[in-house]
Amino acid sequence: MNRYTVINPHTKFTVINTHVHNVDGIAKVTGRATYTFDVVLPGMLYGKILRSPHAHAKIKSIDYSKAMALHGVKAVATGKDTLGAKQGIWRRYKDLCDEQLLTVDKVRYIGEPVAAVAAVTEEIAEKALELIEVDYEVLEGVYEPLDAIKKEAPEIHEGFERNINVTRHIEWGDVDEGFAEADYIREDWFRCGGQAHMCMETRAAVSSYTPDGKLTIYHSNQSPYYMQGLMAGVMGMREGDIRVISPYVGGGFGGKFELDGAIFATAVLSKKCMRPVKIVFTREEDFIASKRRTPMFYYSRTGVKKDGTLLCREAKVFTNGGAYTGMGATALYLTGFFHSFPYVWQKGYRYDGYRVYTNTLPSTSMRGFGAPQAMWCSEQQIEWIAADLKLDPIEMRRKNSHYEGYEVPGQATIASCGINQCYDEIKKWIASKGKLPKGHAIGLSACGFMSGGIFNWFDTPYSFSSAVVTINMDGTVELNVGAQDIGQGSNTTMAIICAETLGCKIEDVKVHSGDTDYNPADLGAWGSRQTLMSGNAVKRAAEDAKKQLLEFAYAQSGLNIIYDLDIKDRWVHSISRPERGSDYVDLVRKALRGKSGQRIMGRGFYTPYRKGMISPAYSYMLQGVEVEVDEETGKIRLCDSMTAHDCGQPINHLGLIGQLEGAFSMAAGYGYLEYMPYEDGKLMNPNLVDYHMIRAPEMPPANIAEIDTYEPEGPYGAKEAGEGLTNPTAAAIGNALFKLYGIQMKECPIKPEMVVNALKEKKAKGK
């Protein structure tokens, strides 16, 4: 079913990388886990949102008197009832804070919130929506970036000429000189589609505003701290007066760390009627009015030597930003940066990215954060170049790949890199498969990814990650973290790091997360940052607590100063004489007494310094996907896959495997199944009948060879895993088709019809 092998594993650990159950497991397999979706508060009302039927329109007037008059309706809110604050997660840059979650005078996409109702039942709220009269002045809409930049295109946001929202420029070396020296230059245009996050739990929030001016919010999100900060802005409140509780979260994938209509509307409504209000998006609302992976148009031009040495690349990208910025500005930068990955460009690299507003669903971050699009284009082009030059695609990649100690000029330093071994592992796997059946081929794709972002567009005054470790008299541990578990297993990972560091058992550790009142600020779960950043904070907090414990151990041990003590698996012992020692719980009691009853408390913080512009560390991977194609119908089937993956030191064994398999399924969907077609700004498949996602029968084995490297910046040498693997798969599928028939797929996802047409085209050319 699946093979998981670890290359050069480290064995010095007692908890790390052992078979530890997910700490939330019991709750999740017994139906006990309660999500925002399940929250019910006394006196709670149910909210519904009225959404724009127009892609682009001015709101002349809204009359909700009839709705208010409906029995059971307690409050109605429109943009006029709000501060009308334009918000965005790029708090540092006012230009990019462009979204009012309840629009005041203009709608820019179909599904944008126009008004919200709170009533005693969901059904009444829904009836009330029909009674709200909105007078629109419909404006001309524009839906594709290449149309939106035309002179005659309608202006979506005032003052944004040609609807250009953000531009990004990345450059190092001398690209032009590179092209002058190149033996071979290849240029291609690509197109990458959008993709829905499709969290199983749709956007949901329960807000309770109380007369003391405090606001408590249950919300399904990836970063309670961000929500607290952003809500303070749009509600005109102090962060400290807002408590955000994120209970179990039903998935995020990059779509839940911005404010959404649910959290804002419930807060506004609750403040109006002083009662808790709950809004849960329907699946259709989640499709048309959340956000999505950014669709992109890619131009990539690459210059090489005939021996396959990569000299230079120039990329120009237009992204369909949709109606608002969201995290799109970051995706725009990262796609440009990762389009250079994982290769060394001898002469230089240049990227110009343009994010264009359109009257469609806002685009934002989604697992991979711009990199899947970048790799879809880059890794296919690399494959084609290797074929054009008759070179072995693996060896050509290998000779150009990043290496330990390489510095991406002005961008990043690579402190650990296991990609070289990845090539070996995939070669072994290909060899082990022998001759493939007719209609089968293996496609390859390499890439790398970041371990958390260094950029602080959110402008937080706090350190990026914080943790508090408190030891009770019986040796149990309260671990308070701002890190958010959205299913990826961060609670478990943090518990493991804490137990390993402190020397207690995993079951001694209770993880407290997802509540801004009780946990320290942390930027939360995005950009694969938590294992490295929150992990470092937890490690330091545990070390701090452990140091305080050991002070007492030393004091009572009377050991010669040259001997050192440690705690492992609840055993306090001399490192040179492990058999000599005492019980950890006993030590905790004594230490407590010694501190006149104060509990031992350790604090840890982490913010990356001197680590370049992007990220403190980078993971690397090479993936092979065996694809079967029905030549007559163009239907694609994934038969098998192998990923050689370098995530530094694995921490959470089960979690890691789950993340890699899960990323594969999502990435494969992006490659050949998941598309979001728009007609005049209307999403044509906002439901799970017409939006296709991989299901169990379509999922191939996702074999993994984990290359253990040591990342000096990561806790115990750990770095990113699980998000980066969303990057290679689409290109690998494309490359399999290329290998099979020599057809070059330039648009993803690859529909069977596109395969059939490409084959027809090829035959036509052949004649």
């Binding site: 497991g25 999740k28 739990e201 299913g487 297993g489 799970l688 299901r695």
Partner: protein
């Protein structure tokens, strides 16, 4: 609107309900009885998050009228464990890490346990995959779930063992 009284047997417990006849089984279980383990992920009978077992058959509780289940035995994820002891499939889910966000897990468990119950003799991996075909999981990529079901079918959690 005329309400109806209905006796619903969930996890071997009779519940007297007084409901609007349009109430869906999932609504009866979650909103009226208060067992929130069963989730809802769509309105199109697609995602399977609401899967429960009715008279031994896995069904999607979002596309069944509660009224139609009078006199039937309904099993939800809360009913899998027997006084504190997890069912084999629950243990297997823990061992294989066959869940991440956990939102699809209750439905997934019900499809799996119905399949395990009705399965006699050997099954192929594809049969296991088809047994959870009606359940979407966005997190795991399914393979860990398939491994968990396989482990139970292979008797890894049978009485006496483990």
């Amino acid at each position: 609107m005329e309400k109806k009284t209905l006796t619903l047997n969930v996890n071997n417990q009779d519940y007297e309900l007084y409901i609007n006849p349009k109430t869906l089984l999932v609504e009866a279980i979650r909103d009226h009885i208060g067992l929130t383990g069963t989730k809802r992920g769509c309105d199109t009978v697609s995602c399977g998050a609401c899967t429960v077992v009715v008279d031994g058959l896995a069904v999607k509780a979002c596309s069944v009228l509660a009224m139609q289940c009078e006199g039937m035995k309904i099993l939800t994820s809360e009913g899998l464990e027997v006084n504190g002891n997890l069912a084999p499939i629950q243990k297997a889910f823990l061992d294989e890490g066959a869940f991440q966000c956990g939102f699809c897990t209750s439905g997934m468990l019900m499809s799996a346990s119905a399949f395990i119950k009705e399965t006699k003799g050997k099954v192929t991996e594809m049969q296991i995959r088809e047994s959870i075909e009606g359940n979407i999981c966005r997190c795991t990529g399914y393979n860990s779930i398939v491994r968990a079901i396989d482990a139970v079918l292979k008797g890894k959690y049978a009485e006496g063992k483990k």
